[in-house]
């Protein structure tokens, strides 16, 4: 704002000292500039660059060759792509419902006055904070078909031919799902606990007066009123399962026979073991497109349900 000399003279002394540090627009931009610059390079710049790479043939050693959309055409004829896509879908359709049910069950069970509630909550959440790589090595042992914990316990209870878990083309995927569910249930349980806090006690009191059983209260009050949380959890779990990678790298390396190879693991091996940067980038764009749609749905829903707060 421009001030005339007379206006300036009338203002108190402290306010008249116009320094560059007081200019809101200048300071506003200056404070977000570092963040904006970093994001421009490492996210948006990278995004454009990634699309460019996906239109080339590039092995890092020789210069990239422009090939147009042929990587995307190749992808449609690539059986390994269909296999990894199918595997990834398997992880999504198993982990999402099992994750929802286990997280919601845990939350409902401990959302009541309990002795040691803090201990239960902490122990269920603990697996989520540890690195998947480190704990994956531990699960590699637990699933060991000859001396691992699971098969030893199974043999104690008289099962002679227990599954060979990660070595079996049939059981490797369920074993990974089991491990991931163990790891993430506690995290989504906390989201459900947040949802449970929003349900008013009066509803349960009214239901008790009407003679509702605990099961009926859960079925007709708790579950429907958690629908918002369930929606968010569904989308987050879908994104999480589409992104399954570290557990595979630590435990199966995509085997046996490619039965646990996921999209992200396939992208990683194509890029950093086969050095097919162009093709890997095209694969990355397919996965990106799927995840982008899922995230858009989540943001749209979040803004709709808490529009006032954002």
């Amino acid at each position: 704002m421009q001030h005339t000399a007379s206006e300036r003279a009338k203002r108190p002394r402290v306010l008249r000292r116009q320094r560059w540090g007081d200019n809101e627009t200048l300071m506003g931009w200056l404070f977000i500039l570092p963040v904006l610059a970093g994001v421009a390079v490492f996210t948006y710049g990278a995004l454009v660059y990634s699309f460019f790479i996906s239109l080339t043939d590039w092995d890092l050693l020789t210069p990239a060759k422009w090939t147009g959309f042929s990587n995307y055409g190749m992808l449609l004829r690539d059986e390994e792509f269909y296999q990894t896509f199918g595997n990834t879908l398997f992880f999504v359709v198993t982990m999402v419902p099992i994750g929802i049910v286990s997280a919601m069950t845990l939350a409902i069970l401990i959302h009541r006055p309990l002795k040691g509630a803090g201990f239960f909550r902490a122990s269920y959440y603990l697996p989520h904070i540890t690195s998947t790589i480190a704990i994956g090595v531990v699960w590699l042992w637990i699933f060991n078909p000859d001396i691992g914990s699971i098969n030893t316990v199974l043999s104690y209870i008289g099962i002679d031919n227990p599954p060979r878990w990660l070595e079996s083309t049939f059981w490797a995927k369920p074993a990974l799902v089991l491990m991931r569910i163990w790891q993430i249930s506690g995290y989504y349980m906390i989201l459900y606990l947040a949802g449970l806090q929003t349900i008013p006690d009066e509803l349960y009191e009214a239901a008790s007066i009407d003679g509702a059983s605990p099961w009926q209260k859960t079925r007709y009050i708790t579950v429907p009123l958690l629908a918002n949380t369930t929606f968010i959890v569904t989308v987050l779990l879908m994104i999480e399962s589409f992104n399954i990678f570290e557990a595979i790298l630590a435990m199966t390396k995509g085997g046996p026979g490619g039965t646990t190879n996921s999209l992200l693991y396939y992208i990683y091996t194509e890029a950093f073991q086969s050095y097919r940067m162009g093709y890997a980038s095209a694969l990355a764009w397919v996965l990106f497109f799927i995840l982008f749609v899922l995230t858009l749905i989540q943001f749209w829903h979040r803004r709709k349900s808490e529009g006032a707060r954002m």
């Binding site: 809101e24 570092p34 790479i53 902490a122 690195s131 790589i133 030893t152 806090q197 980038s281």
Partner: protein, 280 residues
């Protein structure tokens, strides 16, 4: 009726305890196994938890085969430097978004919102290529600089902006009257008042950086500069499933986080209960 209530309560506690045991068992097994001899590990009894004899051999061996103390130091350094830079930049930006009015602010906010929607894998190959062009492969810069600008940066901005909005504006205005600059307000008013939020962000970011894996795996092949998670896979591919050593390595990665979690538990859970998101 009273008896039924007691019985169902006993069943509930038994069930919850059983689940807790399943959740904790892999940790207990890994940490106790890391002090066992390989002979005891291979007897396969999952309930045989006490090391007999108690030995540090696995740790000694793993430190001789690979420089695990370096892995731990590298991880510790990264988990302090990256969150520190990240928080410095994001809290300043959050202040700008929460308090200052300027043209284009909302557009920039949307651009940042977009970063949260980008899955990390799409930027993996181009950023790797950028690191090659800069000659940063196998250098610490590659582990630090791009990691500062990950999705957690934007999450942190949103988280802190929300917190700053709750700090009374009267404090700012009083400071302006006293001749404080905008930067000074952030330094002297906002940051001291936002300590709980900063602590939460710092802890979540520490854990996130400690566990980061794919990016370091790709840009770091020099094992003197490797963080611990990459070191574990390096060990895994260079030993033929020597379980004692693997459990020692896994324990070294897991134990610091368990301690941090037990000490700062409420930060993890509170931040999720209020924001519905984690720092991931």
């Amino acid at each position: 009726m009273k008896l039924r209530g007691t019985i169902s309560r006993i069943i509930l506690y038994a069930g919850l305890t059983a689940i807790a045991v399943l959740m904790i068992y892999p940790f207990v097994w890994a940490i106790t196994a890391s002090f066992k001899t390989n002979a005891q590990i291979f007897n396969g009894n999952p309930f045989d938890l006490l090391p007999r004899p108690f030995t540090f051999d696995n740790y000694v061996q793993v430190w001789t085969v690979l420089p695990f103390y370096r892995f731990l130091l590298n991880s510790l350094m990264l988990s302090i430097i990256v969150p520190f830079c990240n928080i410095a930049l994001s809290s300043l930006a959050a202040y700008s978004f929460a308090r200052l009015r300027f043209k284009g602010r909302d557009a920039v906010f949307l651009i940042l919102l977009g970063v949260m929607m980008m899955p990390g894998h799409i930027t993996l190959i181009p950023n790797y290529s950028l690191m090659r062009m800069l000659g940063w492969i196998n250098e610490y810069q590659a582990l630090i600089v791009p990691s500062i600008f990950g999705a957690s940066l934007v999450f942190n901005i949103f988280f802190m902006r929300q917190y700053y909005l709750a700090i009374p504006r009267d404090l700012d205005e009083a400071a302006i009257m006293d001749g404080c600059s905008r930067f000074g307000i952030w330094r002297r008013i906002i940051l001291p008042n936002a300590k709980p939020a900063l602590a939460t962000i710092a802890i979540l970011s520490f854990v996130g950086e400690w566990n980061s894996f794919l990016w370091p795996l790709v840009v770091m092949n020099d094992y003197w500069k490797m963080p611990i998670q990459v070191g574990i896979t390096y060990l895994q591919s260079n030993t033929n499933n020597d379980w004692g050593m693997l459990m020692a390595a896994a324990s070294m990665s897991i134990l610091p986080l368990i301690i941090i979690f037990l000490v700062f538990q409420r930060h993890f859970i509170k931040s999720m209960l209020t924001s519905g998101l984690s720092g991931k």
